[in-house]
């Protein structure tokens, strides 16, 4: 009872402390408030010169001001503002006002009138601009007050006639940010303010100062962002701005034109210098295309980027972007046919390929050739040839987006994309390869294109080669020569860069399965079979031979006639490869043989998939084990775990799911075993062995739960609850074991306290999930909570023990998709017998190349561990730039690990492996809990375990042979 009392006292005490603390802090605030503004007041009065005053203000600005004292400070500042003659001091005060109104929790409406008043008498333009900025801050702080906004806008309109560009700039910005967006509001307000903001801003499109013009366009864009529908009338104004002398104006104007083209794509606009009309989106497209050859590269990048998002543009305008030759005033021609005809009949332009074909055939009427605007013509040709690679990348991106939405355009831009594979900048090459991959379902490569594409396989950059392999995986090739060419080039690539092996095999797998009919005629040649003679059996371990076989077997899958062409050893090799490289070699129906595999027909939908069914059935069986005797349960669990593990190995797509459940069952089994021992009832100290087993089990369960929580992607909150629940059980087990082994109450007391806290936090975090957990450990525990809190540790332990044993086994609901994070170290291979020699004390760089799958945020979590033979372990954090993201869910780590050691007498192996770091604070559970509960628990709870940080090894260790030599002297 004493302990009980003590605990209660302790609990209350903690609360009191917290409250006291709060009180203290608020008191402090109140105390400082008068002193702070007063001090400022005193300082400012003391200041003899403007420079002094400025110094005081600067010092003052460095310290934050509390919410309560803001108003007071503002009053004092304003007072000084009126007295002050020096503009720089007033400027500083004005900027301070703005800063102060930003203070969180302060409502600036009380100072607005004063701020507006100050504007009246101000002469300095800079101060005026600053004051308007302050008003802007005030306005944005009061989003729900239309009348205030109206007033501010009015004030801004008044100052629009100011002679300084800075003031006009700020006015426009203010109007843009605060101008009324809904028509209704504008009508309600007084007639003055009801003036159309768009009109006001539009008038400043022709301001003499380029900065003001830019600000006007930006304000317009701001209005658009806030939801105001811009008027179409602005379009013609904006078009004029495209020819502005200043790049920032042009840049903003391009943006505005784009916005308008998205708003009014189907409107009809007249073409100047002719009496015809076209759709606005087409016209805008032409204009933006024209900006791709702007003088400033910033504008060019912007224009090129925007082109990609204009998908409503008509196809004939789109296709012009790839052709420079239509340049002779395309605007007059009505249909594509007419234009095409004219193109062929005009003949005034030469391709330059043949000498002299531009010799004037007839006199060209100089009036007829019109070089007004190039429009959409050749925009991409220019963009892709631009001097700056930023523009080229933007152009490639835009090309990609447009091609994705228009198959015919994809077809046409192919040549250009292929040419980009030879760009001198690696990023551009990579980008164009990726682009090509994205549009690959729309295209078929011609042989000459394939030739250019394949030439890139010799690129020294690994990223490029692998991107290209990816591309080849999903391209369509038109001829059998093309396939042959691709194979030959890939094999060349293989000999030149043996590390690309996996990637090349994978590429050939898809190439084969996509083009069975094209591979068929090549088979005899590829297998070098001869109609009469037996040819020697190729070496089974030759990566090049395996590559060829992968291609053929995958083609044979959908081409039943192909196996007839195989020779005997091919079948043997098939059997071997089917076993050793099952992810690359599909099951085949071979004639005259029994089926090597129970060929799963691909048409079965995932729901009917027998393996999936099997998974669910076995789980079902496990969940119903309640009625079995302990022995039976244990066996059932063991068998199911084994089954699941095997299933995971066989079915790669189910691997995550199967492993996850197997791990869970494993935990359950461990817990079950630990609790099932008959020896629990005997006095504890006598059975050390038993205790060791149980505590080991508890420890292992903890580890496994961390794995379950952090190693799988796709885990939802339902699963997280179960995982946490399992962890809680393990902790309870730990507590029980400790209670039985240790003597004395003191350590136990703390542990109980901690455990109860955890139960509490569990309840808070997963309150919404509790109804699903009927009959579970935690459910029962929460029922007993009042009793537990008041019990002695020994009682707590007893209660825990019984609840643990009585609690039911929770079903683990499976999410839709579940993937286990895996890592595979490609390099170092660990096969080398030659030690890496280096001088001791110096550093050697070891290249590490690994693929990571289903790792979320690898930059933050993946570490490299190096284990030296002396047991020393180093943890290396790779740079964020070392991670590449070749596809969804996949990452690639290419980094260098620095090794160093003192001299060894002989070479020895070190181990390199990848670790997944986790931090239980950043647990997925906490991020998934709805916001409200989260913020509550954040405030209320001390983090449950103070963020246990740990690492999970998730790759096979690779051994590297190294030899630090003693330094020579």
């Amino acid at each position: 009872m004493a302990a009980h009392l003590k605990k209660r006292v302790y609990e209350e005490f903690t609360k009191v402390v917290q409250q006291q603390h709060e009180d203290l802090s608020t008191k402090k605030l109140r105390l400082t408030k008068p002193s702070k503004s007063a001090a400022l007041h005193v300082d400012l009065c003391k200041a003899t010169s403007p420079a002094d005053a400025l110094q005081y203000l600067l010092q003052f600005a460095r310290k934050p001001v509390e919410v309560e004292s803001v108003e007071g400070v503002v009053r004092i500042l304003l007072e000084h503002y009126y007295k002050e003659n020096d503009a720089s001091v007033r400027l500083k005060i004005a900027s301070l006002l703005g800063l102060l109104s930003k203070t969180a929790g302060f409502s600036p409406d009380c100072i607005m009138d004063d701020a507006i008043n100050t504007l009246q008498n101000e002469k300095s333009h800079q101060v005026l601009a600053q004051l308007l900025d302050t008003l802007l801050v005030i306005g944005t702080k009061l989003p729900d007050n239309p009348s205030v906004r109206m007033r501010l806008v009015e004030v801004a309109c008044k100052h629009l006639t100011d002679s300084s560009h800075g003031v006009r700039n700020k006015c426009l910005q203010l109007i843009g940010c605060l101008g009324p967006v809904e028509k209704g509001v504008a009508k309600e307000a007084e007639s003055q303010a009801a003036r159309d903001v768009q009109k006001i801003i539009g008038d400043h499109f022709n301001d003499q100062d380029p900065r003001v013009r830019t600000a006007a366009i930006k304000a317009m864009l701001q209005l658009h962002e806030r939801g105001l529908k811009l008027q179409q009338a602005i379009y013609s104004q904006a078009c004029k701005l495209l020819a502005d002398d200043y790049e920032q104006v042009r840049s903003a104007a391009v943006q505005l034109i784009w916005v308008l083209s998205q708003l009014y794509p189907e409107s009809i606009v007249p073409i100047p210098s002719s009496n015809e009309e076209i759709r606005l989106v087409d016209d805008a497209f032409g204009k933006i295309c024209h900006m791709v050859s702007d003088g400033s590269w910033v504008v060019r990048v912007q224009a090129a980027k925007l082109l990609g998002s204009m998908q409503q543009v008509s196809s004939h305008f789109l296709e012009q972007t790839l052709d420079k030759k239509l340049m002779s005033d395309l605007r007059r021609k009505r249909t594509a046919h007419e234009r095409a005809k004219e193109l062929y009949s005009s003949g005034e332009f030469s391709s330059g390929r043949k000498w002299g074909d531009d010799a004037p055939k007839e006199e060209i009427d100089t009036g007829a050739v019109n070089l007004i605007e190039s429009g959409a013509c050749g925009a991409f040709v220019h963009g892709l040839e631009d001097e700056m690679y930023e523009v080229r990348i933007a152009a490639v991106e835009a090309l990609c987006m447009l091609a994705q939405s228009s198959p015919s355009f994809a077809e046409k831009c192919l040549d250009f994309l292929v040419d980009m594979f030879n760009d001198e900048i690696e990023e551009v090459r990579l980008q164009s390869i990726h682009t090509m991959r994205k549009i690959s379902n729309n295209i078929t490569l011609r042989e000459d294109q394939l030739d250019t594409v394949l030439a890139v396989l010799e690129d020294s950059s690994r990223d490029i080669r692998e991107a290209l392999h990816e591309l080849l995986c999903c391209t369509n090739v038109s001829t059998k020569e093309g396939i042959h060419l691709a194979l030959v080039e890939l094999l060349k690539n293989l000999t030149k860069y043996p590390t690309d092996r996996e990637s090349i095999w994978k590429c050939l797998k898809f190439l084969g399965s996509r083009h069975p009919t094209l591979v068929l005629p090549l088979v005899p040649e590829l297998l070098s079979t001869h109609p009469f003679f037996d040819t020697p059996e190729p070496d089974m371990d030759d990566p090049a031979y395996i590559a060829v076989l992968v291609l053929i077997f995958n083609a044979a899958k959908s081409c039943p006639t192909m196996p007839a062409l195989f020779s005997d050893h091919t079948f043997r090799h098939y059997a071997y490869l089917r076993d050793s490289l099952s992810h690359l070699v599909p099951p085949l129906r071979l004639p005259g043989r029994k089926l090597v595999s129970s060929a799963v027909s691909p048409s079965i939908t995932p729901h009917e998939d027998p393996s999936q069914q099997f998974l669910h059935q076995s789980l079902e069986r496990v969940y119903n084990f309640q009625h079995l005797d302990p022995q039976g349960i244990q066996e059932l669990l063991e068998f199911t775990i084994r089954d699941l593990q095997r299933l995971g190995e066989l079915q790669s797509e189910l691997a995550g799911m199967a492993d996850f459940t197997a791990t869970y069952l494993q935990c359950q089994l461990l817990l079950f075993k630990a609790l099932q021992e008959k020896l629990w009832n005997v006095a504890a100290p006598l059975y050390l062995k038993q205790n060791a087993l149980a505590s080991a089990a508890a420890k292992q369960i903890l580890e496994e739960t961390y794995k379950m929580e952090f190693m799988y992607s796709g885990v939802e909150s339902r699963q997280v609850v179960i995982i946490h629940h399992m962890r809680l059980q393990a902790k309870a087990l730990q507590l029980i074991v400790t209670a039985r082994t240790t003597r004395g109450v003191e350590p136990l007391f703390g542990m109980c306290e901690k455990f109860l806290q955890e139960v509490d936090s569990f309840q808070r975090c997963f309150i919404s999930e509790l109804p699903h957990m009927q009959g579970s450990f935690v459910d029962k525990l929460l029922d007993l909570m009042p009793r537990l809190v008041t019990s002695k540790p020994s009682e707590v332990v007893k209660i825990l023990q019984t609840t643990l044993r009585q609690s039911t086994f929770l079903h683990l609901p499976l999410p839709e998709q579940l993937h286990r994070a895996t890592a595979n170290i490609i390099e170092p291979t660990g096969e080398s017998d030659n030690p890496l020699r280096f001088t001791s004390g110096l550093v050697v760089a070891l290249d590490v190349d690994a693929t990571l799958e289903h790792v979320q945020d690898p930059q933050g979590t993946v570490k490299v561990q190096v284990l030296y033979p002396d047991g020393q372990a180093q943890l290396i954090h790779p740079k964020p730039a070392d991670f590449r993201n070749p596809g969804p869910g996949r990452h690639r780590l290419i980094t260098q690990v620095y090794l160093s050691h003192t001299a060894w007498t002989e070479p020895c192996q070190i181990e390199v492996r990848l670790l997944l770091a986790y931090n239980s604070n950043r647990s997925k559970a906490s991020t998934r809990v709805p916001k409200s509960t989260w913020s509550e628990s954040l405030e209320a709870l001390p983090p449950p375990e103070n963020g246990i940080e740990g690492t999970i090894p998730f790759s096979k260790p690779v051994k590297v042979y190294i030899m630090p030599k003693p330094a020579r002297r």
Partner: protein, 390 residues
């Protein structure tokens, strides 16, 4: 409105011998001072008597501006300044000033030492002429006198090529010289701000041509070379004047490295080395890529290139030779051409423009029989390709 008077002393409706006289608000400026490749008599230089008939050149001209170092833009300079007599300032960019004397010397050697002409400018004259040159930076406004100011812009045609804005009071003229809007492997694109000149004098050799995209051209060229080499033929490639190690050559070399082209590649003059040197020296004049990577890797070192010796021309097997001058009018390129013209397996690729009267122009126009010096008739069997790079 005061008038701007333009008098082309060369290059009007013609390629070569660029020399344009501009009178703007009382100032007289000469733009370029080039020679003509098609002639070997007096016609090869602009007719300066147009000016001298009224007095001395120095009195008449306020300044001379040279846009770039190609001989058709600067070839007549020593003749003009030393033999006709001009002592006023000559403006050109730094790279042009560095490379120009080398080319002039080369030109002098060919004309005087090989052809044995007399009454030609001497090495000393070239040196004296270069002393009158004032080097300018890009975008630097140079006040020639109180009223006349000039400003250079990047033209991207060759290393150091520039476009010039000439301004007197509120009137201005922009002279582009040769310029290039498509960046190549070495140089960036021409760029001009919105200077709103009253008159624009632009190069227009290819104005009636809309060329394929740069990459198409490159690909085409490489294909031709590779096909010929695979046939076992020899490729002779003319270099337009001394275009230094230019785009196409760079390309073929890169490709050789990549595609494992077995044939040897030769450069016919010792100028390659010098060219590389100047490219390294004037790295700020090159394009983005080279500027970005020159610290890590020297873009101008290739293991496949060898210097060409005359004896190599008879070697068996395929080879690629880059030779000058580009219009086949004299020098090494003509010699090699004569050796190889008889075999249909061989190919000659002509870059750029060929002036009327040169062998280059004749074969491009389809002439298959050429009359050489000494009344020899040379039958042309090899393939002729045209590749307008510049």
């Amino acid at each position: 409105m005061p008038e701007i008077k333009v008098t082309p002393l060369g290059a009007g409706q013609d390629v070569g011998r660029s020399c344009i006289l501009v009178s703007i608000a009382g100032k007289n400026v000469m733009l370029d001072c080039g020679m003509h490749m098609g002639y070997n008599d007096d016609r090869r230089f602009p007719d300066f008597s147009y000016i001298t008939q009224n007095g001395r050149l120095t009195d008449f001209l306020d300044c001379v501006i040279i846009s770039h170092f190609h001989l058709d833009h600067c070839g007549a300079l020593p003749y003009f300044s030393e033999m006709v007599g001009y002592d006023g300032p000559i403006y050109m960019t730094h790279p042009t000033k560095a490379i120009c004397p080398i080319l002039l010397e080369d030109y002098r050697k060919i004309t005087v030492d090989k052809k044995g002409e007399t009454n030609f400018f001497t090495s000393q004259m070239i040196k004296d002429c270069m002393k009158k040159v004032v080097a300018v930076h890009l975008h630097q406004t140079v006040q020639v006198d109180e009223e006349l100011e000039i400003k250079a812009y990047y033209a991207g045609h060759v290393l150091g090529a520039a476009m010039f804005q000439i301004k007197v009071g509120c009137e201005s003229v922009v002279y582009t010289g040769d310029y290039n809007m498509t960046p190549d492997r070495h140089l960036g694109a021409a760029w001009l701000d919105k200077c709103r000149p009253d008159l624009l004098i632009s190069e227009s050799t290819y104005a009636t041509t809309i060329r394929d995209s740069k990459r198409c051209r490159e690909r085409d060229f490489l294909k031709k070379v590779h096909e010929t080499v695979e046939r076992g033929g020899k490729v002779r490639k003319e270099r337009k004047e001394v275009k230094m190690l230019k785009n196409e050559e760079k390309q073929i070399v890169i490709n050789a490295e990549r595609m494992n082209l077995k044939a040897p590649i030769y450069f016919s003059t010792g100028l390659t080395e010098k060219a590389n040197h100047y490219y390294k020296l004037f790295i700020t004049w090159t394009n983005q890529k080279i500027r970005k990577t020159f610290v890590q890797r020297n873009m101008f070192e290739f293991k496949h290139i060898k210097a060409f010796d005359r004896a190599f021309a008879d070697n068996p097997g395929p080879m690629v030779v880059f030779a000058t001058p580009g219009m086949l009018h004299a020098g090494q390129s003509l010699q090699i051409f004569r050796k190889w013209a008889g075999n249909e397996k061989n190919m000659v690729i002509m870059p750029g423009y060929c002036v009327q009267g040169t062998v280059g122009h004749k074969i491009l126009s389809g002439q298959r029989k050429l009359e050489m010096e000494g009344r020899q008739i040379l039958e042309v069997k090899l393939q002729v390709e045209h590749m307008p790079f510049n």
